[in-house]
Symmetry: C2
Subunit: 185 residues, 2 copies
DNA sequence: GTCTATATGCGGATAGAC
DNA sequence: GTCTATCCGCATATAGAC
């Protein structure tokens, strides 16, 4: 028998919030269960392990992030605006009620030296999708250096995310200024 | 009675290698002791806790990093070269026998949602020193935007470090090209 | 679906003998 | 300085009653 939809949503919400704000290893399964009001039996009927739950939350987060990014792109009317929309998406994504301390995917990658296959796959998918999307948007701005621009912007976005570890109050302002310099070349 | 110097060096080397390549939480104290050939009693006579050992290793690493950076700066003959020397230092630092998977300081910050005071201090010191040094070097290149350049370059360096989590074979090439765009403005 | 209890293993830290 | 044993707490995962 599958887990009831509302129960599963509570479980994923709790896991999302706790894993990525306090850390995966630092969050006992019990804490997730308590926050979700779900019993251990229910969790382990739906997921074979804690790691499977982590992977499931990462996949849901990835879908939500892409939707947010799509909205930010759609709101722009120039090729350049659409390429830079990733920073708008970062701002709105960060303002969501279910937050994370810096980046769920980089955080997961950082916590596991040898990540379980399902988690490694989720992280890889995030990176691959980011790079591919940026390259597609960059091609409309300057086709000759689309891949180069994508790699550069991915580094800038990643830097912006990781800067949150250094300065809690970090904003996307610096990343935006670096991106502007890249486009001005 | 203090720990003998050679014993302490073995302990710090083992901790350095394991904590920052496999992860702090993922590395049991026993693994460090086994690698160093040191007994638990000796460790706990020199350090009150595992966290104190982590902080000690971070501090040593910080000193070594600054020396490496100094050498890279000294090898340059232009203001611009000295500002960009941070990337040369990153390359040589990465090639050392005792490596880390991405960045020891960011890794420590990522692992602790509420870092012990000693560890938080080490991470903060790394960030503060980086920013201050970059600002000093940037002032010689363009005094009017020294602070802005420092913030931008710190983000680029941080992005380069975090990109290692996404792509294991990552090099400083992309970061260098972004830095070049920043200086070309 | 929940609750409580529990099997099982591991990690940090300490104590005593040598 | 090392070795061995051990206390203690915690975390994942499971089982049984309701």
């Amino acid at each position: 028998m599958p887990i009831r939809a509302s129960t599963e949503a509570r479980l994923l919400d709790a896991a999302d919030e706790l894993f990525f704000s306090r850390g995966i290893a630092a969050t006992p399964v019990d804490a997730v269960l308590a926050r979700a009001g779900v019993s251990a039996a229910t969790l382990y009927r739906g997921y074979p392990s804690k790691e499977a739950l982590v992977a499931a939350v990462l996949e849901r987060r990835h879908r939500v992030w892409l939707e947010e990014w799509d909205r930010a792109i759609a709101a722009q009317e120039s090729h350049e605006g659409r390429l830079l929309a990733v920073f708008d998406a970062l701002d709105t994504f960060r303002a969501r009620p279910i937050g994370s301390r810096w980046c769920a995917f980089l955080g997961a990658a950082a916590e596991y030296a040898d990540a379980p296959a399902e988690i490694a796959r989720a992280v890889r998918q995030d990176t691959d999708t980011m790079r591919a999307r940026l390259a597609g948007l960059a091609a409309a701005v300057d086709a000759r250096r689309a891949d180069e621009l994508a790699d550069q912007l991915l580094l800038v976005v990643t830097g912006d995310l990781a800067m949150r570890l250094r300065s809690p109050g970090h904003t996307t302002a610096t990343a935006r200024s670096v991106a502007a310099a890249l486009l001005a070349r």
